[in-house]
């Protein structure tokens, strides 16, 4: 029983650590603020969810303590972390951070310009 529990904990925590390290590499190496936001919001969310699931399994299976707060933390992070990523990308676009030269096409540009013109009127 303990061996199965330890295997589950090791698998989930190592997946989470792998995704955290991949986040760091993505934020350091990608060329653009939008691609960096893409790397940051998805993979940190999955990494921290996996690590919290591993800690929850450790406390539940090895020590017999069903932690509701960890489950609440998992649900809260799963809801709020993509919202934070969306807000940061939107703030970067509206404040006018330039894209990398690899970008092909921008369909949001006319809409944002039209909205700014309507706000000034």
């Amino acid at each position: 029983m303990t061996a199965i529990a330890n295997t589950l904990v090791v698998i989930t925590i190592s997946v989470g650590v792998l995704f955290s390290v991949v986040t760091m590499i993505g934020i350091l190496r990608l060329p653009d603020v939008y691609t960096r936001a893409h790397a940051a919001s998805k993979s940190t969310t999955f990494g921290v969810l996996s690590i919290l699931l591993g800690v929850f399994l450790h406390y539940w299976l090895n020590e017999g303590f069903f932690s509701v707060q960890l489950l609440l933390g998992i649900v809260f992070l799963f809801i709020t972390s993509p919202i934070g990523g969306h807000l940061m990308g939107r703030a970067a676009y509206i404040s006018g951070v330039e894209k990398s030269e690899l970008t092909i096409g921008d369909e949001l540009e006319e809409v944002v310009a039209e909205a700014k013109r309507r706000a000034e009127r």
Binding site: N6, S20, I27, Q69, S81
Partner: protein, 93 residues
């Protein structure tokens, strides 16, 4: 088992160090904001691993608090970057 948890904690701290490089050097303000948000989420992971290392249940309550504080900080910072103010005065616009 404990060795595995220690190695995971050290890897997470090293990736926080790599994100600090982006906070230091990031060309624009939203770059630094994104890196700081990722650091806040990695702090949550480090706290969860420290709860296993110290073998205590009381660190778990810290996780939810850090998550809420990091979300509020991210929202207010991005609203400040977008509009120039966080709490607007006139509501009839």
């Amino acid at each position: 088992m404990m060795t595995f948890i220690w190695v995971s904690l050290i890897l997470i701290l090293l990736s926080m160090l790599g994100l600090m490089y982006r906070v230091y050097k990031g060309p624009s303000i939203p770059d630094r904001l994104i890196a700081l948000d990722a650091i806040g989420i990695l702090i949550i992971s480090a706290t969860a691993l420290l709860a296993i290392i110290f073998d205590t249940k009381f660190f778990i309550e810290v996780i939810l608090l850090i998550a809420i504080m990091a979300f509020i900080g991210t929202v207010s910072f991005s609203k400040f970057i977008e509009k120039g103010e966080i709490i607007e005065r006139d509501r009839n616009r």
